[in-house]
């Protein structure tokens, strides 16, 4: 299995939701919004590093990190990352080494794409 991205997830979600960013700017201002995104990317990087360091047998820790990423990515307008993290959270109790590696690759690829989209939108 090369990827765990289901066609449904790939087709139903976008990498970066401009609408969330615009709502945050409207509610909180550009400066605060950019500061929040900076914190988000730093924290998401840390979560992905921790996930990379975990063995597939650390199921509780994988669930915890995936749950956190699901929530924060959803809040910051990265729906695809949020869904991939939700999928990993759900699979963690029975995940195999191969599926864990594939899930991580999908998550990292989705995150990298979303971050590129954010940079291209925000400048």
């Amino acid at each position: 299995m090369s990827t765990v991205v289901s066609p449904a997830i790939a087709a139903s979600t976008s990498d970066f939701d401009n609408g969330t960013f615009e709502t945050l700017v409207a509610e909180l201002g550009l400066e605060d919004t950019l500061q929040m995104f900076s914190v988000f990317f730093t924290e998401a990087d840390k979560r992905l590093t921790r996930l990379r360091e975990l063995s597939f047998e650390n199921r509780k820790a994988i669930q915890h990190e995936a749950h956190g990423l699901k929530g924060s990515a959803g809040n910051f307008g990265l729906p695809r990352v949020s869904e991939l993290a939700a999928s990993l959270e759900q699979d963690a109790p029975t995940i195999t080494p191969a599926r864990y590696q594939a899930a991580l690759q999908s998550l990292e690829a989705g995150y990298a794409t979303a971050r590129e989209r954010f940079v291209s939108v925000v400048g």
Partner: protein
Amino acid sequence: MAEDQTAQTMGDPGRASRRGGRQPDSLLVIDDDLSICTMLEKIGEKAGFAVKHAVSLEEATALLRMQQFACITLDLGLGANSGVEMLHILAGMGCTTPIIIISASQRSMRDFAAEIGDRMRLDIRPPFGKPIDFVKLKATLVEIKEMLNLQRRADSAA
């Protein structure tokens, strides 16, 4: 002793003003994700609160022992601990502060936690899921702040 003091002060928005020098209403954000804490801090500040955050049950308990809060937002996943444990601690402190549960857990889990809080006679407000509806959350916080202002006016009149 510290818990007793907290129990005496929590949920009494008029107490700070009666002691002299009205303090801004404080919001305590309890969430183990720093990016969510930052987001909730900004929303809370826009709603007129002075905001502090805690990323663990221990940090939150320490803050609650040091000062009173006018409102609390609570995540249900707090690392090794759960938000429900925090509800037990708040109930033990005699907390009457409005509490808003904000969690990426399934709705049934959020509702279940809210029901537990209700049974402990905590002031649990309707829970929020994640992604958070920022506009609705800000409106809820503004509403709580206005309620506190009204309560203060009524206290002064009395």
